[in-house]
Subunit: 534 residues, 2 copies
Amino acid sequence: MVSGFKNLTESKIYSQLLSLAQNPFDLTEPAALQAGNRLARYVCRTELLHLHYATERIDEAVMDGLQQLADDLHLVEQFREMRRGAVINRIDGFDSENRQALHTASRDLFSPQPSAPLATGDAQKELEKLRMFLEDLASGRICNHRGERFDTMIHVGIGGSDLGPRAVFEALKAYGLPGKKVRFIANVDPDDAARVLAEVNLATTLVNIVSKSGTTLETLTNEHLVRLALKQAGLDPSRHCIAVTGEKSPLDNPENYLRSFYMYDYIGGRYSSTSMVGVVMLGFFLGYDRILEFLEGAALADSQAEEVDIRNNLPLLLALLGIWNHNFLDYPTLAVLPYSQALNRFPAHLQQCDMESNGKSIDRQGRRVAAKTGPVVWGEPGTNGQHAFYQLLHQGTEIVPVEFIGFRQSQSGVDSVVSGTTSQQKLLANLFAQMVAMAVGQRSANPNREFAGNRPSCLLLAEKLTPKVMGALLATYEAKIVFQGFAWNINSFDQEGVQLGKALAAGFLQAMMDPAGASGTLEKVFLDQASETA
Amino acid sequence: MVSGFKNLTESKIYSQLLSLAQNPFDLTEPAALQAGNRLARYVCRTELLHLHYATERIDEAVMDGLQQLADDLHLVEQFREMRRGAVINRIDGFDSENRQALHTASRDLFSPQPSAPLATGDAQKELEKLRMFLEDLASGRICNHRGERFDTMIHVGIGGSDLGPRAVFEALKAYGLPGKKVRFIANVDPDDAARVLAEVNLATTLVNIVSKSGTTLETLTNEHLVRLALKQAGLDPSRHCIAVTGEKSPLDNPENYLRSFYMYDYIGGRYSSTSMVGVVMLGFFLGYDRILEFLEGAALADSQAEEVDIRNNLPLLLALLGIWNHNFLDYPTLAVLPYSQALNRFPAHLQQCDMESNGKSIDRQGRRVAAKTGPVVWGEPGTNGQHAFYQLLHQGTEIVPVEFIGFRQSQSGVDSVVSGTTSQQKLLANLFAQMVAMAVGQRSANPNREFAGNRPSCLLLAEKLTPKVMGALLATYEAKIVFQGFAWNINSFDQEGVQLGKALAAGFLQAMMDPAGASGTLEKVFLDQASETA
């Protein structure tokens, strides 16, 4: 086990990187993108994903510095130990979760010697349960009380039990089995459940309740609403509900659920898309074989993340470029802009995975951090965004580093030539053009048509958004986030910052229940209770 | 016409506000929220919306300073002149659009003396055309070739012709006419169109093509794909397509379109939701009467925005609080977090409306601005976000001011009591709790359970998300954005920053069409063309 974690600012290379950042590579110089065969040199290629990063403000000196940083902070070593079951979800000397972080084990199914055999064994057992369940659904051995097959699934979860699974579902919608539908309920807003329930045929609907603890307020409330709707439709909820939950949680109960699939406390919610949390719904929608492709892509990305050369370790490189932009060039946010409508919810997943992991102020020794930790992450698909917020990206006073994501082929293959090019070509031409425009800028006699340039970006490029590529993309970002957490020496696996809001909400709920409170307006409850809390 | 616009930094009160910002109100002091009856004092109430802002880091000195700033920069005067048709979309002394900004006229229908009578006359004429068109659809006078009525509309547009209309549609889905469906195609990604076309019954579908110039690349490409699909289904596109476009644009052609509704160059795309751009689709879906309610809410908010007392002018107050957080407390982003699933696309609309308007670096005299202009705007609905990125909001090193949006009642009214409270109560209890938690923080012996507090927020609270309230909310944010643009002395109505990317994309497209380029890989085209451009 690597001991004595160093903070970013304690690395011997930190001050050297700081001084390099005083004068970063100038992308607006004439022919800057041609210098030293830059465009061809700054590409990291893996089997499924390529990373083009010539449009970042880096040069060989910075790259060498980032390599030294990675070595000095033992980033790859820590990743290897995480995959092998080190208890890294902890803060030294203080009460903390004290757990392993073994999301990688849930897809480590394709190697004869998995890195964490026990956890991978758990995953295999649950996958086998799922395979049989899906067979029973397909054969009609499990069906509704009228003998009809289930064609719809409502996935009920929130946070990690919603965002990652939903992003992957949206990404792979084009691969759905004929006739299969999936809907999601997450928000405690009653209108969320009401909309979904109005859209489906409950008689042929399975309801998948996803909550590790079996006590998540939103999910239990929505489960209640859905069970009520099932009963009102004359259906028996226990024949329609399944659960993904911790073993022995309140949801692990065959009287109320057709099946329970298990999730384990060594996998955090935001890293759980490749566990039963995502895979039960995806299996229903895509079929079992597609799931294996998805998991295989993720496993491939995990094993490639153990490479020590940062130029050949794609997620580590992405992590270090992010640190260069955030900690050395001092940019507070990161935009992730997929040029693929199917990835429309991927930025929302990353908001959780990244900001909940790395939005921390305390290092793993309980000391206040000296360097900034995670940036604000946001994004929408292109080209849509070009007609929305790109004005600010090009000419605003806030500088926003961008990670573009693109694919050489569309998923559907349905396309046509308009004005000499296909839609897919137009999509990529726009993506490429944005990278270059942000980098090189433009001089003009009209000050309003000036573009300062030097706005850094990179591009993750893949052949096509298949289940396998989606697995690799998901795991690449998980690894990137984890590498950054290691570099900042923070615990990327807990979320103490969500506890205070929960505790205070209980007080407001109590005040709303109180007959005295209920007799006033909601606004009065707010004013009274807020005043009391403060 | 107000002459000689001053920049924020040129206001006589600027330096005083800067020094107040050295020591802003401390929300973490014991009983801070009770001080001076703060919670009850810092509320701005209008008929439809209340703004609670006691959890901002302001006090009376700051409020007085912001009032002086508003007066000194003539913010309300400029707004009044905008509504009355001043040519404010311009840069002095340089080639620019030189237009009025009269989006407010499109809803100024409820006063005997509209502020800009000609533009409101245009709006009335188009609304009357729309009313008759909707009647013809309802009566079946306009129908498909088999005599069936249209039950579905595909809205094809991008940017301002997509984001605002879509956000309003999502917000008001609960009010849709029975049996009516709307789908959207925006992205040039061919998978976007393919998905929508696979979901609808084209025979009973109207296609609404929205493009002011009639030359938007994405929209024309998608129109082409949709017309092809109609023909392949044996249908006559000219009997299924309508257009919202500029008079005499290529889309203003009765041979190809059942109807054309007009939009005018004095309304920018991102401010056009209350013009035909939004209202044709909304009229089809909600019916004509609901549209009038929506427009009435917007008109009400516009007229209230002419109040000079900042404590009684809600959008101006919101604008100034934003400037306090961004320019004086130096926070680079703004999160807009609606506790309403129906507002799930409202932050995406605001990203365009705000960041495209105010992501600028040049003032209205063509000088480089000294102060920061628009922040990065982002957000997702609560309570979902609580389980995603709120960790960073509470404990991250980036401080993010928040604008919460909440409603006392749900739209559907479908709700039930679980553990003593309704879902709607749980939703609001969580919202209130987050505001208090961010403001007051928490001390703890465990450093990982410390919350620094002093993270500013405010709350826009309304009774229920009706069409009228949605109109007011939309117009409130438009006015807020415009007020901030006035304060920064920038042109909030152009978007020169999107031109460079468009121009460079043409080069990449040419290279892809070139037989030499086409014979290589797409990646080679990127490398070669990027190198050439640089």
